[in-house]
């Protein structure tokens, strides 16, 4: 890796391994993965079930730690950071979109989106309001600000989650199978929304998916197989490969 490349990388992963231990059995989930993700990319991680997609995203998202190798997020080696610093990194640099939306049920749509801003304590009330409403408008839910999550459809919930992930203007948004719980049309809409935000705000997106259609929006597809980095290909190549693989 040349240093300039690593400087423009928002995520830089070098020879990362991850072992899970189940009792006495050691399950290798990642077996030495290298990956560079540059700012503004819209990257999909693909691979069969159990190939390590979720594991890799968790490492990038600083919610888990690698067994070996180096994970750098926004230039920082996550191994060197304390629990508090990791949390702050997640709060300020990373946005999360979950497969099952993970909204706080007792809070309104507005409050869910506002939540990370409150944790940040950077904006005052009026500023927060403006920012939240701006995002709700972008995801098309401004009129639902006062609703509770359980009053929304799955697609709407995931839009709220997208708004929440982006409200702090993170450099990087991670989404592990964001469309898996949605029908294909709705899933498509979510990916379109993400792509739109990627292009407008320049936010980097890394998401995993099984869905070839979803994959097709990506700048690049990183393929994993059995815990190994297989290749990094274009979306078109990926859909061809998937069509060929019958999957």
């Amino acid at each position: 890796m040349n240093p300039t490349a690593s400087q423009s990388s928002i995520v830089s992963i070098t020879n990362v391994t991850k072992d899970y231990t189940l009792g006495k059995v050691v399950v290798p989930a990642l077996r030495g993965v290298d990956l560079e993700v540059h700012a503004g990319e819209f990257i999909s991680i693909a691979g069969p079930s159990g190939s390590g997609k979720t594991t890799l995203l968790n490492l990038i998202g600083c919610v888990d730690t690698a067994t070996g190798g180096v994970v750098r997020v926004a230039g920082q080696d996550t191994k060197q950071l304390t629990e508090r610093q990791l949390t702050n990194l997640r709060l300020n640099t990373i946005g999360f979109i979950f497969q099952s939306f993970n909204l706080v049920q007792v809070l309104s749509v507005f409050q869910n989106v506002e939540f990370p801003l409150l944790l940040q304590r950077k904006l005052d009330k009026a500023q927060r309001r403006e920012r939240v409403m701006q995002l709700l408008e972008q995801v098309g839910l401004a009129s639902h600000a006062k609703h509770r999550p359980n009053e929304l459809s799955g697609g709407q919930r995931q839009r709220v989650a997208v708004a929440r992930a982006l409200v702090t203007r993170p450099q990087l948004v991670l989404a592990d199978e964001p469309t898996a719980n949605l029908d294909s049309v709705t899933g498509q809409n979510i990916i379109d929304l993400m792509k739109e935000l990627n292009q407008k705000e320049g936010t980097t997106f890394i998401f995993s998916t099984h869905d070839a259609k979803v994959m097709s929006h990506a700048n690049a597809v990183v393929r994993l197989a059995d815990g190994n980095f297989l290749d990094r290909i274009s979306a078109a190549e990926a859909s061809r490969a998937m069509a060929a693989g019958g999957h």
């Binding site: 968790n58 508090r84 999360f96 979950f98 007792v106 939540f115 990370p116 898996a180 719980n181």
Partner: protein, 702 residues
């Protein structure tokens, strides 16, 4: 700010979102309710009882001799009267105690118990008759006197007849085995016309037969246990201002005399039939019991129906006739027999009771002596002195007294009051009078110097020949006058009349001093200071609070409080465990939510804050609800009052009803306890919540 508001919002919204929270809330609600109501009740009872104890006899502080073997127990202890050493000179103790700026008044006290013999109706009537004959012997016969003698004689004859009838009846029923033939014979003789015809010829020997052979066959002569407090009666009245005279009058300043407790007077000296009517009335009116349903009331009615002898014996022939007439009119009956009429009259049920009760007091009572002792009578009190001799003292009963609000309390009514002089006599200490008497003996018996022991024996001795001490019944007095001589009799007469100076009252023995304080709040501090002062002055004194001085009674409320607090403790330990477990479950249920928050950037401290705020809100909301309902209950109880139910409780309630009040401290205590318990019980679950990994957010279980 925003965060806190968010946390509060989350907390409030979570409040009713899960059943677990409702469970915890329920526990907190009832816990608070219990602490508020229970605590307020206990406090109210505590202060009511302390008012009872302080206001009746104890004062705030009691001071007594440190040489005492037992601790002071004003209401008696399990093992009888405590063995106390005397305070030799109260007149020196008082100024010492009054030196303390917080001491308001000091009253000398000595409590003790004695046996009072109250002769039975036959005894009293006979002694009455004997007195009339004596009067005739002294002053000569007048027509009025003759009439009185005949009337009393008729009364005695009627009693003898009644006794004979009853003996015959019980003989039929029981087969008549146990009777002493001499007694049977005496009764038979006393019934004959010959006996009564010959009465006037030798009245004293006839009386003797009646007194020695007939009267003892009546079993209702009572030995009453009387507890009394010897005190400076004026100072006592001034200090314990709840005290009020009910019958009679106060003992004149400086004189010997006694004030019976109204309770004692009613319970033990009132005619049983009347007392039972009173009891029934009270239970019906106060406690809403009915004769139809309550076994106690039924028993009293039954006893009144069967035990009419006490009434019948009281009546001479004239009064008997009147009574029969009145009863016939009241009952609309032609029945000539008084006992049958009485039985019919006392056959009461819930419908006629109130009428009969009123009729008894308006129609029948005027013909009766309702009490065995009248105000102004002289009571003979026999007690064991400190040294173990039997000692009797005659004290004039001036009146009865009670403590306002404690009229029905056996505990507050346990003590009758007596002047200090009589008390000292009974307790076996040399009073100035006794010393003078002793000097008299020495002069008469020609003994130059008696040792103190001998002197005491002479003065207080039971079986000594020196019958110096007046004994009970007036009939004996003449016989003893021979032994004692005119002078002795005079002395006794004088004793009852004599007016003692304040100095005489105070210069002498007391067993303890009751101390009233200006500021009761400073009780503990004052006690400490008095102890120190006593130590500095070289006085061997024990200084105890009213609570200690009350002995077992004082421990009652303490015990009640302990029980309550123990119950509260148990409840809260259980609550602690339940809340803890419930919170753990609640946390487990929210693992994904917490994980999500952690993933999107919430620090552990935020999670901790969230759980704690939720518990706090839970505690405050349900705690407030509990306190609110508790306050409501207390307000209700305060306006309605809790009926004491039975007389024993009067003392603890400081009256027939307890009007409990809720103090701010009860509410504060409830809140502190509730919030403390809920905070403690969430600590571990809260800790667990902070350990939830952000990885948990990735669980896909929807």
């Amino acid at each position: 700010m925003g965060q806190l508001r968010l946390l509060l919002q989350v907390a409030f919204r979570n409040l009713f979102s899960s059943k677990i929270n409702l469970l915890i809330g329920g526990i907190i609600f009832f816990g608070t309710l219990l602490v508020v109501v229970g605590g307020a009740l206990m406090d109210s009872m505590d202060s009511a009882m302390s008012r009872s104890i302080i206001g009746s006899v104890a004062g705030h502080i009691q001071v007594y001799s440190d040489d005492s073997k037992d601790p002071l127990a004003l209401y008696g202890s399990m093992s009888g009267e405590p063995d106390l050493a005397a305070l030799d000179d109260f007149s020196q103790l008082r100024p010492f105690l009054e030196k303390h700026p917080n001491v308001k008044t000091v009253v000398p006290l000595g409590t003790s118990g004695a046996i009072v013999t109250s002769g039975n109706t036959v005894d009293l009537t006979l002694s009455n008759l004997r007195a009339l004959y004596k009067k005739r012997d002294e002053a000569g016969e007048t027509p009025e006197l003759r009439e009185s003698i005949d009337s009393v004689k008729g009364h005695v004859r009627q009693m003898v007849n009644l006794m004979a009838d009853q003996t015959a009846k019980s003989e039929q029923e029981l087969g008549g085995a146990q009777k002493d033939p001499a007694e049977v014979e005496a009764l038979a003789r006393a019934r004959t016309d010959a006996f009564w015809d010959a009465f006037e010829e030798a009245p004293y020997s006839a009386l003797e037969l009646l007194e020695n052979r007939i009267a003892p066959q009546i079993p209702d002569g009572d030995m009453l246990e009387l507890r009394y407090a010897g005190t400076d009666l004026d100072a006592f009245q001034r200090t314990f201002d709840r005290m009020e005279i009910v019958d009679g009058q106060p003992v004149p300043t400086g004189q010997r005399g006694m004030l019976l407790s109204k309770f004692f007077y009613e319970e033990f000296l009132k005619m049983k039939s009347a007392l039972r009517l009173d009891h029934i009335k009270q239970e019906r009116d106060l406690n809403q019991k009915t004769i139809a349903t309550d076994p106690d009331l039924q028993r009293w009615v039954k006893e009144n129906q069967t035990q009419t002898r006490e009434i019948i014996f009281q009546l001479d022939p004239v009064k008997t006739r009147k009574m029969v007439e009145r009863l016939q009119k009241l009952l609309g009956s032609q029945e000539p027999a008084l006992d049958k009429l009485l039985t019919q009259f006392f056959t009461t049920d819930d419908a006629n009771f109130d009428t009969r009760y009123a009729q008894f007091y308006s129609e029948l009572a005027p013909l009766l002596e309702l009490y065995r002792l009248r105000m102004g009578d002289v009571l003979t009190i026999t007690a064991f002195t400190r040294t173990g001799y039997m000692q009797s003292v005659n004290v004039k009963v001036y009146g009865t007294y009670q403590f306002k609000g404690l009229e029905k309390s056996a505990m507050a009514g346990a003590l009758s009051l007596m002047d200090l002089m009589s008390f000292r006599d009974l307790y076996g200490y040399l009073t100035a009078d006794k010393k003078a008497e002793l000097a008299e003996i020495q002069k008469q018996s020609g003994v130059e110097a008696l040792s103190r022991d001998e002197a005491e024996e002479a003065l207080f001795g039971e079986a000594s020949d020196n019958e110096l001490v007046a004994e009970a019944t007036s009939s004996d007095v003449d016989d003893q006058a021979a032994f004692i001589g005119d002078q002795g009799a005079l002395t006794r007469e004088n004793l009852l009349q004599r007016v003692y100076t304040q100095q005489e009252i105070e210069q002498g023995v007391a067993l303890s001093a009751a101390v009233m304080l200006k500021d009761p709040e400073l009780l503990e501090q004052t006690m400490v200071e008095l102890r120190q002062a006593a130590k500095d002055a070289g006085l061997k004194l024990r200084v105890v609070s009213w609570q200690e001085a009350a002995g077992i009674i004082g421990q009652f409320v303490l015990l009640g409080k302990l029980v309550l607090y123990f119950a509260v403790f148990i409840i809260f330990v259980v609550a602690l465990v339940i809340i803890n477990n419930a919170m753990m479950m609640a946390t487990m249920q929210r693992v994904r939510e917490v994980g999500t928050m952690r993933a999107i950037g919430a620090q552990r401290s935020f999670i901790l804050g969230m759980v704690l705020v939720e518990t706090l809100v839970l505690g405050l909301v349900f705690g407030s609800a509990g306190s609110l309902v508790g306050s409501g209950i207390m307000a209700l109880l305060n306006s309605a009052g809790i009926p004491a139910g039975n007389e024993a409780l009067y003392f603890f309630f400081s009256g027939p009803r307890l009007f409990p009040t809720l103090s701010a401290s009860n509410l504060v205590a409830a809140f502190v306890i509730v919030l403390g318990v809920s905070a403690i019980s969430t600590l571990y679950p809260a800790f667990l919540a902070t350990r939830v990994s952000p990885l948990q957010a990735m669980q896909t279980d929807e």
